[in-house]
């Protein structure tokens, strides 16, 4: 996994609450057995006029011009600014894969659905929770200024705005550590192999019906 330390990037505002994973990446794209290649289909139904199918070449598909990511001013954005309960719905990791493949490595919102939030960390994406009033201010600033960019520093747990304001954020220690170092948490867990085996032996005696 790619480590996340700092990021300076253009912000794209997704001004809708409860953006669900079906909207982030519609189900027909879940048929792929790969981890990459989902970026062109991110927000497919909102982004294109026609119905997307897996494998389609998206370069000539008709775009919905009023959809935010289709506006030239947000081209190349790497920070997605969102509303409450972002990523609700299914557990599909295709949602963060699509977000990452498109080029976003940070999502800022007042709240996230649990599974989506967790899936982001597994893929080198930093989801940041800020209070709703602060997110409102960022939306306003982003609308007011073309090219609005932020600098995110995971080490310092801070976001710096173009006029130098520093906004702090919380993130739990374990996830921060893994993300900063790009750690594969399977490898970390396997270091606990003895503890797992000891647990299994104890549990087998306690609960023989579990088939351990």
């Amino acid at each position: 996994m790619q480590a996340f330390i700092t990021l300076s990037g253009l912000v794209a505002p997704m001004d809708r609450a409860n953006v669900d994973t079906d909207a982030i990446i519609p189900k027909q794209f879940l048929k792929s057995i790969r981890r990459s290649g989902y970026g062109p289909y991110l927000f497919d139904e909102w982004r294109y006029e026609d119905r997307g199918e897996p494998g389609m070449d998206c370069t000539h598909r008709p775009l919905k011009t009023d959809f935010v990511l289709n506006k030239p001013r947000y081209k190349g954005a790497s920070i997605l600014l969102a509303r409450e309960n972002f990523g609700c719905g299914s557990s599909r990791e295709h949602a963060p894969w699509a977000i990452l493949d498109y080029g976003f490595t940070c999502v800022i919102a007042p709240s996230f659905a649990d599974i989506f939030y967790n899936n982001c960390f597994k893929n080198g994406i930093l989801p940041i929770r800020l209070d709703a009033a602060m997110v409102d201010r960022l939306f306003a600033a982003c609308a007011a200024q073309e090219g609005y960019s932020l600098t995110v520093d995971l080490e310092a747990r801070s976001i710096t705005t173009p006029d130098g304001e520093v906004i702090g954020f919380d993130v739990d220690e374990f996830r921060r550590h893994c993300l900063l170092n790009g750690l594969d948490d399977i490898g970390l867990t396997l270091l606990e192999g003895d503890a797992i085996r000891a647990y299994e032996a104890r549990r087998k005696a306690e609960a023989p019906w579990l088939g351990l």
Binding site: L30, N85, S91, N119, T189, P208, W209, L210, L212
Partner: protein, 467 residues
């Protein structure tokens, strides 16, 4: 101080509590399906890792399988590759799979409990958000992403942050015609789709105990739609009776030991919760969702809300968008909304009790002229077999329903079963998101009996008045 059910099950599964507050949690059962697993198996292959305990995992294809004639195989080549990849991965890694033509195949969350793979007090995971279903068995059951599917395959553990505990108690007795599905929708309508975020919810009280296991599964299935990490119901005689005699259930001495342990799977009387809510069963009417989020739900007797009733600008905008997408106007009477299609099935309502309830509504009647298609899709091959043994398939067919092969089907429309743009569907599934049942499709979530009644009447009706 007494412990909550969640804490009892959690504590039994702690392999290691880390200093940073995270916990290495042991996973007893891992259910696998074709959509969220291929990249996980690929990860194992690339890192030369083996499953830690292959016997903990059981797989079945469900999302992509056709619900029509299986003898023809899967015509969509991309779907076929995904299902074949599951077969190959299970073979290579030594995982039991109930393949597409096995009678035990079905939606994972129907198949698991039916086989006795879900036992009380277990930790159960699956790369699917509706894994919360298994909480009906006093399990900690959580949906996970593909990276975690790989993590569980490789280590049999998950790294978890302990959620907070919420208890929702439903007092009194459920009125006739009110199902677990209505209870779920009613609760989501009250607390919203983020109301349970960060919580494990225990559903308790006399009205919950009165529910069958099928009803409890429908309820816990939708805990995820309230944003909860998981939903749970304490184990009791209903739970134990359901589990008894299933293929993977313990027998003999192990059964007795298990039952003794399962009797402890309830919250102590003095357990403390981070949040408590008490509801009255008598307040719950048959529910119909009107919008594009499960929280946009109302009693069948109500009318679509006016935008002026929204609590703030964000909600107002969501409602406005939902009305537009759903092709509804403010104040429209729900019972006058006409439907084009009807879908009975899914991991929420694809069990035998659901088909019995729906069949009793349609028996001897015919689909309304405006209903283009009504589908009854059993949750598993065994549900289908049981329903046919009871003659339910004949009742559905005579009423004009299509009686299909088991799978997820039009719950998410990954196979050929889908709505066309603008079509309106009474559906027993769990999500009414934009495009969920097909691009431009309009979904109304209801119970099986309500869906069946809508198929016959051609519009929503109050099942309490059905004769």
């Amino acid at each position: 101080m007494g412990r909550a059910l969640f804490d009892k099950v959690w504590d039994q599964h702690v392999v290691k509590a880390n200093e940073d507050g995270s916990t290495l949690l042991y996973i007893d059962r891992h259910l696998v399906h074709e959509v969220t697993s291929p990249q996980a198996f690929e990860g194992l292959r690339l890192t030369h890792r083996k499953p830690w305990r292959a016997s903990a995992a059981v797989a079945t294809p469900d999302h992509n399988v056709p619900t029509t004639d299986r003898a023809k195989g899967i015509t969509d080549p991309i779907s076929r590759i995904q299902v074949e990849a599951l077969d190959e991965n299970c073979r290579e890694f030594g995982i039991t799979e109930f393949g597409m033509n096995d009678v035990r195949q079905g939606v994972v969350h129907v198949m698991g409990p039916e086989q006795g793979l879900t036992l009380p007090g277990m930790t159960v995971v699956c790369g699917d958000s509706h894994t919360s279903t298994h909480g009906a068995f006093a399990c900690i059951a959580m949906g996970i992403g593909t990276s975690e599917v790989e993590h569980v395959l490789a280590t049999q553990c998950l790294i978890q942050q302990k959620p907070r505990r919420m208890r929702i108690t439903v007092e009194g007795a459920l009125p006739a015609g009110i199902t677990g599905k209505d209870v779920a929708l009613y609760i989501i309508g009250l607390i919203g789709t983020a109301g349970g975020t960060g919580y494990a919810i225990e559903f308790a009280g006399p009205a919950i105990r009165q529910l069958s296991m099928e009803g409890r599964m429908s309820l816990c299935n939708m805990a995820i739609e309230a944003g909860a990490r998981c939903g749970m119901v304490a184990a009791d005689d209903t739970t134990i009776d359901y589990v008894k005699g299933r293929p993977y259930s313990p027998t003999g001495e192990d059964w007795d030991k298990a039952v003794a342990a399962w009797r402890e799977l309830h919250s102590d009387s003095d357990a403390v919760f981070d949040k408590e809510m008490v509801l009255q069963a008598s307040d719950i009417a048959p529910q119909v969702s009107w919008g594009t989020s499960p929280e946009m739900v109302l009693p069948v007797s109500a009318s679509v809300p006016h935008l002026a009733e929204a609590r703030d600008a964000v909600q107002r905008e969501c409602w406005e968008r939902a009305l537009l997408y759903m092709g509804l106007s403010e104040g429209e009477v729900i019972s006058e909304i006409a439907v084009d299609k009807v879908f009975i099935g899914s991991c929420t309502n694809g069990r035998i009790e659901d088909f019995r309830a729906a069949a009793s509504v349609v028996k001897g009647k015919k689909l309304a002229a405006n209903v283009k298609l009504a589908m009854a899709v059993p949750g598993s091959g065994l549900v289908k077999q049981q329903a046919e043994a009871e003659g339910l398939d004949v009742i559905f067919r005579e009423a004009g329903f299509e009686w299909r092969e088991p799978g997820c089907s039009m719950c998410l429309a990954m196979n050929a079963d889908r709505l066309e743009p603008g079509e309106r569907c009474a559906s027993t599934s769990n999500r009414n998101f934009e495009g969920r049942q097909g691009m431009g499709g309009r979904t109304h979530l209801v119970s099986p009996a309500m869906a069946a009644a809508a198929a016959i009447a051609g519009h929503f009706v109050d099942i309490r008045d059905w004769s």
